[in-house]
C-alpha cells in the first residue's frame, strides 16, 4: 500500500488538476490535488508528488533536511470547496443605487461597469491629479501606464519589529524583494535541529508559517528543550513546548530586560561574540540602563515580575539556562525567537530591539541553530523561478509601489481630514503629519478607491474606515462574496474569480504563475508550483488580470501595459490557452538556465522535467543539498559588515538620537538604500535610541486599564488566512468564534462558557459568545483575528459604531488607528476592552 504510484481516484471519469494554496500573509505554498469531473471540483487532496501514501513520512532526517517532504495543507487548504461553492458568491457586476453603507443593488453588464470605472478614473485623475485614486496592492497594476497611482503598502513597515531590524541589524524586514539592501536570509526549518535550546516568545507556528511544525515535533522528540513564552496556552505550546511560561500580554519588554539584567549581573555574556560584532559604546550605555545606573531602576527579575507576571525565580532560571548557551563560542546554540505579535503593539520597537540584543549578548546570531532574535526574514531564493516575459513598455508614471503618499494605510485620515485642509482649518504641515506624509512626497487628494477583498477589514478601527469610504466620490470593490462587509460601501461591485482555482495563473497581481516556497518566513526554498485553472468561475466572475486589462483597454494603454494578452481579452478559451503558452515559454526559458543557477547557489542540480512532464503534476522540487540557511551568516562568518553606521550590531542608534524626527527616512548607511520606514512622528523625537521600558497609553497596567481592564489580543486563526474563508459553509460545524476570557475574569462578571457577552472599548462595541478557559491568565482576552464585521439590521448604533455594533467578533473594531508618537503609522494588534454578560436575548 505504501508504494502505490497510481493516483487515488474519487470518481470514475474524473481528472486531477493542481493548484496551490498560498494566501496573502501565509505564503507557505502547499500543493493541492483537485479532483474534477464535468467541470465540478469534487474533492481536494494533499499533493502526492512525493512520499505518496506515507502518513508519517518517516523518510529519515536527510529528507527533512533537504526539504524532500510534502507541504501538506492545513485546514485552510482543505476547506476551499465550501468557500468556492458558496451561495453568496458574487456573480454579476452590480451598481449601488442606494447609499454607501445601506446599498440597493442593481445588476449591470460588465460593459457598463468597466466603462463607468474607466470614465471615473479619467475624470478623477484629470480633476484631482495623479494622487487621487487609492487602490489595492494588485488592483491598480495598470495605473503607471495611465499616469496615476501610488503605494498603498506600508502598514507592516511600521511595526515595532521592523524598526528594530532596521536600526539594530540593518535589515528592512517587509521589503525583502528589491528594496532591502541585504539579501533575505531567513531560517529554513531544518536549522532548528541544530539548536541545543529553543526559546520562543509569542510564536505559534501551529497556526502561522506552518512549515516549521514537522521539524519542531522532531526537535522535541529528539529532546531539544523547548520553552514557549506566550499569553495563551496555544496549540504550539501543547504540542511542542516542554514548558509554557505565560506572560501578561504587552509586557514582554520587562521580561527581556530582566533576562539581560541577569546575563550582565552574572556575566553570562558571550564576550568573544560581543567584542567582535557589537558596537561597544551603545552596549555599554544599555548595560548601564539595564543595571539601573542611569535611571536608578534595576531591571531585575524582581522588578519585572510585577509587570510581566512571570515569577522572578523563573526569569532568573530562564536567563541562567539561556546564558549557558553561547552558540558562537561554545557551539551550544540557542534558537531564541521573538515573533511578530509581541512587537505589534504600542512600544513594540522596544520589544523587537531587545529580542535581538539578547541573541547578540549570548552569541547566538549568525550560527547554525541560532536565530537573530527578531520576527523573521524570508528565506533565500534557492534559484530564480520561471517568470513570464510580459513585454511591457516601461511606463511614464513611476511604479505605484515605489511612490508613497502616506504610511500605514494613512488613506483613511487622508480622506477624513481633507475637508479641514481644504477649508484652512488644518495647514499642510499638520495634515501631512496626521496622515504620515513626508514634506517632499506628493500631497494626496483621495477621491476614489479601487480595492479587492480584504484591503479594508484587515485594518484597525474599522468604523473610521467605513466613514472614509462613504466620503469618497466613487468606490469600486472586487469581491468573491457579496456578504463581505466592505461590499456595502461600494458604488460598483465586481465579481472576482478565485485566483487559485478559477483563473489561469492570476494570483498575487495577475502576473505570477509559478509560486515559490521561499516567499514565506520559515519555509523551504527548494520548490515552486504552477497553479492550474481548476474550474470555471461562477456566473460572470472574472479574474483580476482580465479586469485590469479591460480597464487598460478603455484607457487606451493596453498595448503598452499588457501586449501579450491584448488579443485574447474577449475569448475566455483563447485567454486560458494563451496563459498556458506563456507558462510553457517561461518554464522552458527557466529550464535552459536552471542547472547554472542551481550550481551558482551551491546546490547540485537535478534533472528538470520537460514542460509536459511538469504539467502533469506541476511542482518542481530539488533536494537542498547544503546546510539550511539562517540570518546573518555572512556578517558573523564571512566578515561582511552589518548594514549600520558602525558596521556592527547597534544597541544604540545614532539615527534615533536626532531630536527632530520630522520627515526623517531611514537610509541604510553602507548602501545608501532607503528603508520602508518613514519617521517624522514628532518634534522632539520620543523614540529612545535604545530599547527601554516605557508604559504605553494602552498598557494593561496604566490609567486606561481602570476603565478597560482586559487586554485584548488578536492572533491569527487556524481557519482563516487573514480574513479569507470566514463564511466557509463547513466552518461553523468545526469551530466556534468566541471571545477567550479567563476563569477569574469570567467569574467576576458571572459569565459561563457560551454566554453572550458585550465587548466595548473607545473604538468599538460588539456581541459574541464567551469561551471561558484556563488557557489564559486573568486580565487577558483573545479575539481571533479575521472575522468579518457583521452588523445586524436595526442593531444598536453608537457614536463609535455609527453603522451598528458588531455581531460577529471582528477584531479590528477594537484596535486603534492612533498613530505611534514616533513614526508615521501604526500596527496595533492589541487593545484594552471591558466585557460584560448580556442577560437573555440573542445577537
Amino acid at each position: 500500500m505504501t508504494n502505490s504510484t497510481a493516483k487515488v481516484m474519487h470518481t470514475e471519469g474524473e481528472e486531477i488538476k493542481y493548484t496551490i494554496c498560498q494566501q496573502n500573509g501565509c505564503f507557505t505554498g502547499c500543493l493541492l490535488a483537485c479532483h474534477v469531473k464535468d467541470g465540478e471540483l469534487l474533492a481536494i487532496d494533499v499533493g502526492d508528488s512525493i512520499n505518496a501514501d506515507m502518513p508519517r513520512e518517516d523518510v529519515g532526517e536527510t529528507a527533512v533536511r533537504e526539504g524532500m517532504v510534502q507541504h501538506r495543507p492545513c485546514a485552510r487548504g482543505r476547506m476551499w470547496r465550501k468557500t468556492l461553492y458558496h451561495p453568496n458568491r458574487a456573480l454579476h457586476p452590480m451598481k449601488n443605487i442606494g447609499q454607501k453603507g445601506e446599498p440597493v443593488w442593481e445588476q449591470i453588464s460588465w460593459e457598463e461597469a468597466l466603462d463607468t470605472i474607466a470614465q471615473k478614473i479619467v475624470e478623477t485623475r484629470d480633476t484631482y491629479g495623479p494622487y487621487s485614486i487609492s487602490g489595492g496592492m494588485f488592483f491598480l497594476d495598470f495605473a503607471a501606464w495611465a499616469g496615476f497611482g501610488h503605494s498603498t503598502w506600508g502598514c507592516a513597515s511600521t511595526a515595532g519589529h521592523t524598526l528594530a531590524d532596521t536600526v539594530v541589524v540593518g535589515v528592512d524586514l517587509p521589503m525583502p524583494f528589491g528594496h532591502s539592501p541585504t539579501p533575505p536570509r531567513g531560517t529554513e526549518p531544518p536549522d532548528l535541529l541544530n539548536a541545543k535550546l529553543i526559546i520562543a516568545v509569542g510564536w505559534n507556528p501551529a497556526v502561522s508559517y506552518t512549515a516549521d511544525n514537522l521539524v519542531l515535533a522532531l526537535a522535541k522528540e529528539r529532546g531539544i528543550p523547548i520553552i514557549i513564552v506566550d499569553s495563551r496556552y496555544t496549540s504550539s505550546v501543547q504540542a511542542y513546548a516542554d514548558q509554557w511560561i505565560p506572560i501578561r500580554p504587552g509586557t514582554d519588554i520587562a521580561l527581556l530586560l530582566a533576562i539581560a539584567y541577569v546575563l550582565f549581573k552574572e556575566d553570562l555574556i558571550d564576550h568573544a561574540f560581543v567584542d567582535q560584532f557589537v558596537e561597544p559604546e551603545g552596549l555599554s550605555g544599555w548595560r548601564s540602563y539595564v543595571l539601573g545606573e542611569t535611571d536608578g531602576v534595576k531591571k531585575s527579575p524582581e522588578w519585572a515580575e510585577s509587570i510581566c507576571a512571570i515569577p522572578a525565580e523563573t526569569i532568573r532560571g530562564l536567563a541562567r539556562l539561556y546564558g549557558q548557551h553561547h552558540g558562537y563560542s561554545d557551539g551550544n546554540a540557542c534558537f531564541f525567537k521573538l515573533h511578530f505579535a509581541p512587537a505589534r503593539i504600542v512600544g513594540g520597537e522596544n520589544v523587537g530591539r531587545a529580542g535581538i540584543y539578547l541573541q547578540a549578548l549570548t552569541g547566538n546570531i549568525g550560527i547554525p541553530g541560532g536565530h537573530y532574535g527578531g520576527g523573521e526574514c524570508t528565506v533565500p531564493f534557492y534559484m530564480p523561478v520561471p517568470m513570464v516575459d510580459w513585454q511591457r513598455t516601461p511606463p511614464s508614471h513611476p511604479d505605484p509601489m515605489s511612490m508613497p503618499l502616506y504610511d500605514a494605510r494613512g488613506w483613511v485620515d487622508a480622506v477624513l481630514f481633507r475637508d479641514k485642509l481644504d477649508s484652512g482649518e488644518m495647514n499642510e504641515e499638520e495634515y501631512r503629519h496626521r496622515i504620515g506624509s513626508a514634506s517632499n512626497w506628493p500631497l494626496p487628494n483621495i477621491r476614489m478607491a479601487f480595492n479587492q477583498v480584504g484591503t479594508d477589514i484587515g485594518t484597525h478601527d474599522n468604523q473610521r474606515m467605513w466613514e472614509a469610504l462613504k466620503k469618497l466620490d466613487f468606490v469600486v470593490k472586487a469581491v468573491y462574496h457579496t456578504d463581505r462587509p466592505e461590499t456595502a460601501y461600494a458604488d460598483i461591485v465586481l465579481p472576482l474569480a478565485d485566483p487559485f482555482f478559477e483563473a489561469s495563473g492570476d494570483a498575487m497581481g495577475g502576473g505570477g504563475f509559478f509560486y515559490p516556497g521561499f516567499m514565506s518566513v520559515s519555509a523551504y526554498g527548494n520548490y515552486f508550483i504552477l497553479s492550474q485553472k481548476v474550474i470555471e468561475p461562477p456566473g460572470e466572475a472574472k479574474p483580476l488580470a482580465w479586469i485590469n486589462a479591460q480597464i487598460a483597454r478603455r484607457l487606451g494603454i493596453l498595448d503598452e501595459y499588457n501586449p501579450r494578452l491584448a488579443d485574447v481579452l474577449d475569448d475566455t478559451k483563447a485567454w486560458d490557452e494563451r496563459h498556458i503558452e506563456l507558462q510553457r515559454e517561461a518554464y522552458e526559458q527557466w529550464r535552459m538556465h536552471y542547472a547554472g543557477w542551481a550550481q551558482a547557489s551551491g546546490v547540485e542540480p537535478v534533472e528538470a522535467p520537460s514542460f509536459e512532464e511538469f504539467w502533469d503534476c506541476p511542482i518542481f522540487r530539488a533536494p537542498l543539498k547544503r546546510e539550511p540557511t539562517y540570518g546573518f551568516k555572512e556578517q558573523i562568518q564571512e566578515g561582511v559588515p552589518f548594514n549600520t553606521n558602525s558596521g556592527r550590531i547597534e544597541f544604540h542608534s545614532t539615527f534615533l538620537t536626532d531630536p527632530d524626527m520630522a520627515d526623517k527616512e531611514y537610509v541604510f548607511p553602507l548602501t545608501g538604500a532607503p528603508s520602508g520606514i518613514c519617521f517624522g512622528g514628532s518634534k522632539p523625537a520620543v523614540i529612545p535610541p535604545q530599547a527601554e521600558y516605557t508604559e504605553a497609553w494602552d498598557s494593561p497596567l496604566g490609567e486606561m486599564a481602570s476603565e478597560y481592564p482586559l487586554r485584548l489580543i488578536t492572533p491569527h486563526s487556524f481557519f482563516r488566512q487573514n480574513t479569507a474563508q470566514d463564511n466557509n459553509l463547513w466552518i461553523e460545524d468545526e469551530a466556534r468564534h468566541a471571545l477567550w476570557i479567563s476563569v477569574a475574569d469570567a467569574k467576576e462578571r458571572g459569565i459561563r462558557d457560551g454566554d453572550l457577552i458585550r465587548i466595548v472599548n473607545p473604538q468599538g462595541e460588539g456581541i459574541m459568545p464567551a469561551y471561558v478557559t484556563s488557557r489564559i491568565g486573568a486580565g487577558t482576552t483573545c479575539m481571533v483575528y479575521g472575522a468579518w464585521y457583521r452588523a445586524g439590521r436595526g442593531q444598536k448604533r453608537t457614536e463609535a459604531m455609527p453603522d451598528g455594533i458588531d455581531l460577529w467578533g471582528s477584531a479590528n473594531n477594537f484596535t486603534s488607528s492612533r498613530m505611534y508618537p514616533w513614526v508615521k503609522g501604526n500596527l496595533h494588534c492589541a487593545s484594552l476592552v471591558q466585557v460584560e454578560k448580556i442577560s437573555g436575548g440573542e445577537r
Binding site: S4, A6, V8, M9, H10, A43, I44, D45, V46, D53, P55, E57, D58, R72, P73, A75, R78, M79, L214, A217, I227, S235, Q238, A239, A241, D242, Q243, W244, S306, A309, I310, P311, G317, L701, G702, A705, P709, F718, F719, W730, I731, D733, E734, A735, R736, S742, V743, A744, A746, E748, D753, G754, V772, T773, R775, I776, G777, A778, G779, V784
Partner: protein, 268 residues
C-alpha cells in the same frame, strides 16, 4: 465507490487483515486538516454529521493547564458493539480490511447502534429518530473503503500536517507504536477491541523553575495604580462545573447540538 455502493457479498474473497489507525496526541495541534479532508472527500454536508470528530478539552487551572485532543473517527472495532444490536442487519464487518460499514438501505434509524457504541461513532443528520418518516439513517466513517480498495491510505491520515496519524494492519501499528488503545477518559478497549492505537500527550516538565501559585498572585496584581483583579488565588483555581465549557471528554452527547458543541475548536 462509497460504502453505499458496496454490497456485503463482493468483499468476501480476501482474507481479513484488521486495519487500524494510529493517533499521536503528542504531535497533534488540533488544526483539523483531517476533519476537513474527511468532509471534503466524503462530501459531508454542513450539519451535525461528522465521520471524523475532533475533541479538544482542558484539564487543570491556570497556569497548570493541559489541553487534550482526540482523533475520533469510527474505530472499526474487532468486536463491534453496534453490529450486534442492529435489528435490521444493516451493519456488517467487511472482510478484507476489517472495516465496519452500514447499509443505508437496510438502516431504519432505530439508533440501537448509537446506544451500543461507547465512542459515539454512528452519526445522524438530525435528531429525528425512530418511527418518523423523515427518520435520520446512520452514517459513519468508512475507513475510506474506496481509497483502500485502490491501494491508498484513508484521506485523514494522509492529510495530517503534523504527521500525527498513521494507518495499516493492526499488528503493524501495535509493533511500531505500542498497544495503548485508550487515552485518558476513554472507554476500556477490552469492551469492543477498537482498531486504533495511541501515543499520549507528552507531559510538560519544568525546564526552569516555575511556581504556579506565585504566578497566579502576580496575574491578579496590577501594579501601584490599579486595583487587583483578585487577591485570593481561589478566583483562578476554584472552577465550578459549567464555567469552563470544554473540561472533559464528552464522546457521547445526547443530541446533535451538544455533539457539535463538544467537537468545535475555539481557535477560529
Amino acid at each position: 465507490m462509497t460504502q453505499h455502493e458496496t454490497t456485503q457479498h463482493e468483499v468476501t474473497q480476501h482474507e481479513t487483515t484488521q486495519h487500524a489507525f494510529f493517533f499521536d496526541e503528542s504531535r497533534c495541534i488540533d488544526c483539523r486538516a483531517c476533519s476537513f479532508a474527511c468532509r471534503d472527500w466524503h462530501d459531508i454536508k454542513p450539519g451535525p454529521v461528522k465521520f471524523l470528530r475532533r475533541f479538544t478539552w482542558e484539564e487543570g487551572a491556570f497556569p497548570e493547564v493541559t489541553m487534550h485532543t482526540l482523533f475520533a473517527p469510527c474505530y472499526h472495532c474487532e468486536k463491534p458493539a453496534c453490529l450486534k444490536v442492529c435489528p435490521n442487519g444493516a451493519i456488517w464487518k467487511e472482510g478484507r480490511f476489517g472495516t465496519v460499514l452500514v447499509d443505508e438501505e437496510k438502516c431504519q434509524g432505530c439508533r440501537n447502534c448509537w446506544d451500543a457504541c461507547p465512542y459515539g461513532a454512528p452519526q445522524f443528520a438530525s435528531d429525528v429518530a425512530n418511527g418518523d418518516s423523515s427518520v435520520a439513517k446512520m452514517s459513519k466513517c468508512t475507513m475510506c473503503s474506496d481509497r483502500l480498495k485502490q491501494g491508498h491510505m484513508p484521506t485523514c491520515v494522509n492529510a495530517c500536517p503534523s504527521r500525527a496519524l498513521d494507518f495499516g494492519p493492526i499488528e503493524e501499528m501495535k509493533s511500531r507504536y505500542g498497544d495503548l488503545q485508550a487515552l485518558r477518559g476513554m472507554p476500556d478497549p477490552a469492551i469492543t477491541k477498537p482498531a486504533i492505537t495511541f501515543k499520549p500527550l507528552a507531559p510538560k516538565r519544568q525546564v526552569v523553575p516555575y511556581d504556579a501559585e506565585r504566578a497566579r498572585q502576580l496575574f491578579g496584581q496590577r501594579g501601584d495604580k490599579l486595583t487587583p483583579l483578585y487577591t485570593d488565588n481561589a478566583a483562578v483555581t476554584d472552577i465550578e462545573p459549567g464555567t469552563v465549557g470544554k473540561d472533559r471528554l464528552d464522546l457521547k452527547s445526547p443530541d446533535s447540538e451538544r455533539a457539535l458543541a463538544a467537537t468545535r475548536s475555539d481557535e477560529w
